[in-house]
């Protein structure tokens, strides 16, 4: 299955053998990487699943409260209550390196403190239902940030695992067998050349010996012919 023409010589053979050693080592390393990534991933994905369930439950509860709040309040009042400024939320980003996959770590901070207790609107015009809704959302919020972090990590790991697995497979099932096949065909070709050379040498030697024998015979005959004439 040698797909391309290879020159059956020693230099090529050495080159291929070196390549095979490198490929084997790369294969082993990548396999180890894949296994470790997989271990990390399985930890994360379990957490991810649990967090997602929790967020969905918390948000469903918050949404129920919100529906209630909207039902009892004038839409315009609600709008203005929510529009009036809350200090904007910012995220601190750190990154973590898992097997050379860079994953983000989120750290939520509010620019001015006092996130809890303080609702971002005046209490005079707004009913208690909205308070409930907002506090439900506040409860959901840290879990949501955690979910974002874990889910992103799991996704990045999954992509990396897929990539690594492809590399491992292509080394294992394509590159390494191909190299071995090429090495085999070169060795066989060289053995064949060697045998051909040997038989050729033997043949040549036979011919030389044959010539020598005939030469000797001719000389003997000539001597035999000359002898009686001389006596």
């Amino acid at each position: 299955m040698a797909r391309r023409q290879i020159n059956p010589n020693r230099m090529e053979l050495l080159r291929l053998k070196k390549q095979l050693v490198t490929a084997r080592r790369g294969h082993k390393l990548l396999k180890d990487k894949r296994d470790e990534l997989m271990r990390q991933f399985l930890d994360k994905i379990k957490v991810n699943q649990q967090l997602r369930l929790r967020v969905e439950k918390l948000l469903a509860a918050a949404n129920r409260e919100m529906i209630l709040a909207r039902a009892v309040m004038q839409p315009a009042v609600l709008e203005t209550a929510l529009l009036t400024g809350r200090e904007s939320l910012t995220l601190g980003i750190d990154s973590q390196n898992i097997m050379s996959v860079h994953v983000p770590l989120f750290d939520a901070t509010f620019e001015s403190s006092g996130m809890s207790e303080n609702l971002p609107y005046g209490l005079a015009t707004v009913g208690g239902e909205l308070d409930q809704a907002i506090s439900a959302l506040m409860e959901a919020f840290p879990v949501m940030i955690e979910l974002a972090e874990v889910e992103k990590t799991a996704q990045l790991l999954a992509d990396e695992i897929e990539k690594t697995r492809r590399r491992v497979n292509s080394l294992e099932y394509i590159l390494i067998p191909e190299l071995m096949e090429n090495i085999r065909s070169i060795t066989m070709k060289m053995d064949e050349n060697e045998r051909g050379n040997l038989t050729r040498l033997m043949k040549v030697k036979d011919m030389i010996v044959e010539q020598a024998i005939q030469e000797a015979r001719r000389r003997d005959q000539a001597a035999a012919a000359q002898e009686p004439a001389g006596v």
């Binding site: 997602r52 509010f110 972090e149 889910e151 799991a154």
Partner: protein
């Protein structure tokens, strides 16, 4: 410093304003796509998007999935969860393991 964005229909996302997140309303998939692109190129670390809108923008989300930031997280809208978020988790598992681990774990649990 990075910001947190929320994209969704008005009813689903209005409450997040009170938490200081940047809320953008989108009624259609195209509008949401535009907002996602805008936020992704801006300094947004996390974008929460309601599941129905996420569903319409799967290809865009798949592209952004490979970048470290932003994290795009589907959340249930006010009409309830469509299960997209969970499906995405399973999709990750399938990608990494090659098979759906959680499904097979359930079926092999009673063996």
């Amino acid at each position: 410093m990075y910001q947190v964005g929320v994209i969704g229909d008005r009813d689903s996302v209005i409450g997040f304003k009170a938490l200081g997140m940047t809320v953008r309303e989108a009624e259609s998939g195209e509008k949401a796509a535009e907002l996602i692109r805008q936020m992704a190129s801006d300094k947004f670390a996390v974008i929460y998007i309601t599941e129905p809108l996420a569903e319409e923008n799967q290809t865009l989300i798949q592209v952004l999935r490979q970048q470290p930031l932003p994290a795009i997280v589907p959340i249930p809208s006010i009409t309830g969860s469509t299960g997209l978020g969970m499906r995405q988790v399973k999709e990750s598992v399938r990608k990494a393991v090659g098979i759906d681990l959680f499904d097979s774990a359930e079926s092999s649990a009673d063996e």
